[in-house]
Point group: C2
DNA sequence: CTTTGTGCAAATTCTTTGCACCAAA
DNA sequence: TTTGGTGCAAAGAATTTGCACAAAG
């Protein structure tokens, strides 16, 4: 399915800019920051602004099209893959890796309704070990 | 066990300031921010600086005495309870709740060594539902 | 005296806001 | 012609850094 179609399904108007940004995120599973997305797309979209990247990430995240990863304190990262999986942050090289995991059996108290569940680990990756 | 003893066990010199901060965190299971800790302790410790709170949180977190919760994008929260449990952020009232959970069976790739595992949910709490 | 802890002020960095202009329905 | 999207510059907020002084071994 195309990025435009996915956006539309979520009630988001698929502007050129939004499609370009979402496309980038779907094709680069590196959990980029807003700045990395901006820097990567700038050459082909000279008028693109960081504000628009932030606007778009916030919109897509709110509509559940992407996930915002807050594993690092300093900056948010983004992931177009919204299937259940975990994130591993290497505290040496700073890279974020995906890993397979089940959802744990969580005892969420009565009356609490979660919409997002995240699992993450921090440690050292294979290359840094 | 006293806070001073716990700090010592982790190789951290239990200065008055560190013990005071760690004590506060042990007694207030509200997942406070650095600013909240600073504001709460300031009246009794007029010379305390926010820098020291940040220094202390970073040190205690690095030594595994406390956990840094990065469920919110804007600011870090801290938790003196390092037993396995999940965190639930209510996107309406902003409070962070604890919930019981098992560790999921995670397929961390060969060669990756995690030191911290976090499970969190975002949604709406009982009061806001 | 030598290392470690604390604290002020300034700097840095990520993110948001206000506002104006442009584009689309 | 009204709403929604984009972008610049400025503001805001959390955290870090540089440096100096104080305290502890």
């Amino acid at each position: 399915m195309t990025s435009a179609e996915i956006l539309q399904q979520h009630g988001i108007r698929p502007s050129l800019t939004r499609v370009m940004i979402y496309d980038y995120l779907r094709e680069h599973r590196t959990h980029p920051t807003a700045d990395e997305i901006y820097t990567a797309l700038s050459p082909n979209a000279p008028t693109l602004s960081k504000t628009t990247v932030y606007n778009t990430m916030k919109l897509l995240s709110a509509e559940g099209v992407i996930k915002t990863i807050t594993i690092e304190e300093q900056q948010a990262r983004f992931d177009a893959c919204i299937d259940t999986h975990g994130h591993f942050l290497c505290k040496d090289c700073g890279k974020v890796f995906d890993f397979d995991t089940e959802l744990p059996s969580m005892k969420i108290p009565e009356g609490f309704s979660p919409t997002v569940t995240e699992i993450y680990c921090i440690g050292r990756c294979k290359s840094c070990n």
